[in-house]
């Protein structure tokens, strides 16, 4: 591992930009291509790259499996939660108009929140599946 200096340094330089790009894809999804799903995958790819270069043990210390499992469920909860909040405010399920005084602002908040939910779940699921697959030992050893 220690002799692959270019990979180690290259990954260290790239990973912050990958994570930043994921956030750009997330929050620019209203204006261009992108959204929660793509952003979640790219965000997860940043951590997967870290795992490939620095080892699974290190990335597990940064991001414990428990945390990504919680993320996976949290996103769905956030998404559905927005739906229940709109119901509590007198609208229909996932009718964002009631989230603010101006329906258009309500739509903005609603879309922001549910896209965040999608991001969190997709990120959690991708990293969890990677942990699950990469963490297994060969069956024939």
């Amino acid at each position: 591992m220690d002799d692959r200096v270019i990979l180690r340094v290259g990954a260290k330089v790239l990973i912050p930009f990958i994570l930043l790009f994921a956030l750009y894809v997330q929050f620019h999804g209203d204006y261009g291509p992108g959204g929660g799903f793509q952003a979640g995958v790219i965000f997860a790819a940043g951590f997967v790259l870290y795992a490939l270069i620095y080892g699974l043990g290190n990335v597990r210390r940064v991001l414990p499996p428990r945390a990504v499992y919680i993320c996976s469920a949290l996103g769905v909860l956030l998404y559905a939660g927005v739906g229940y909040v709109t119901m509590a405010l007198g609208g229909e399920f996932l009718d964002y108009d009631v989230l603010a005084h101006d329906p258009e602002h309500g739509q903005h908040y609603g879309i922001l929140l549910v896209e965040l939910g999608v991001l969190i779940t997709v990120f959690g699921v991708m990293v969890s599946v990677f942990y699950a697959v990469a963490g297994r030992r060969r069956l024939d050893t």
């Binding site: 591992m1 894809v25 999804g29 209203d30 204006y31 261009g32 291509p33 992108g34 959204g35 799903f37 793509q38 995958v41 790219i42 790819a45 997967v48 795992a51 490939l52 270069i53 620095y54 080892g55 699974l56 043990g57 290190n58 499992y69 996976s72 469920a73 996103g75 769905v76 998404y79 559905a80 739906g83 399920f93 996932l94 964002y96 329906p103 258009e104 602002h105 739509q107 609603g110 879309i111 549910v114 896209e115 939910g117 999608v118 779940t121 997709v122 959690g124 699921v125 969890s128 599946v129 990677f130 699950a132 697959v133 990469a134 963490g135 297994r136 030992r137 060969r138 069956l139 050893t141």
Partner: protein, 221 residues
């Protein structure tokens, strides 16, 4: 010009698909599948479906390839010789393909303005979403707002898929019996155990696996 790009991409797709089938080395096949996804993403861009292309490039060419490599590290790089004759599978595949091609005959022509898809709710989304939702990207408006309930379902599907994967993998390899110091002991195959050395071939190693002696001492308690 656009036809030329279409034809070139489709020919490359065909070549890639054929080489995946012919390829005996699974590592090369996985790499080819990444290329296949990237070419599909290119086709989606040509069709102006940039959001789909984005997803295809990120998921198909990115994460899937990594997961496939992780799997290869567990099962080895070479395809076993098939134990059956290829006639029946070939027949099934050709038949399915023929049915699919037959199905496309009923699909309205691509990009035709009189297609049913352009006359149901699509005009409403295109014309009204700007001031109903207030964001320029119609795809996001449909995905997150008009069809928010569907997207909730999709997110739930992603979550449920994880639950399925974890359930399947958590069964794990069975505990092993190892002969050491003149007696048999059981080594648990624990998932939380930090000695993940399995994916070594895909360079996911880096964790120092405890050497055999330490592993044995742990289980001896």
């Amino acid at each position: 010009m656009i036809e030329f790009v279409d034809v070139a991409l489709l020919i490359l797709l065909g070549i890639t698909a054929f080489s995946i089938i012919r390829q005996q080395n699974l590592f090369a096949a996985v790499m080819m599948m990444g290329i296949y996804s990237l070419l599909s993403a290119g086709l989606f861009v040509v069709m102006d479906a940039v959001d789909v292309a984005f997803t295809e490039a990120a998921v198909g060419a990115g994460i899937s390839t990594i997961l496939m490599l992780g799997t290869l590290a567990l099962v080895g790089h070479n395809e076993h010789q098939p134990q059956h004759r290829p006639i029946l599978p070939l027949f099934v595949v050709v038949l399915t393909g023929a049915i699919l091609v037959y199905g496309t005959l009923d699909i309205p022509p691509f990009g035709d303005a009189s297609n049913p898809a352009h006359h149901h709710v699509a005009p409403h989304y295109l014309e009204e979403s700007e001031h109903e939702i207030g964001i320029p990207n119609v795809v996001t408006s449909i995905l997150a707002s008009y069809r928010g309930y569907d997207t909730l379902g999709e997110t739930t599907v992603v979550f449920v898929a994880l639950v399925g994967v974890l359930l399947l993998l958590s069964l794990g390899p069975r505990p092993r019996r190892i002969f050491s110091n003149g007696r048999w002991i059981t080594v648990a195959a624990d998932d939380e155990d930090p000695s993940e050395k399995g994916a070594g071939d895909a360079r996911v190693d880096g964790v120092q696996a405890p050497d055999e002696v330490e592993l044995l001492r742990d289980t001896d308690g």
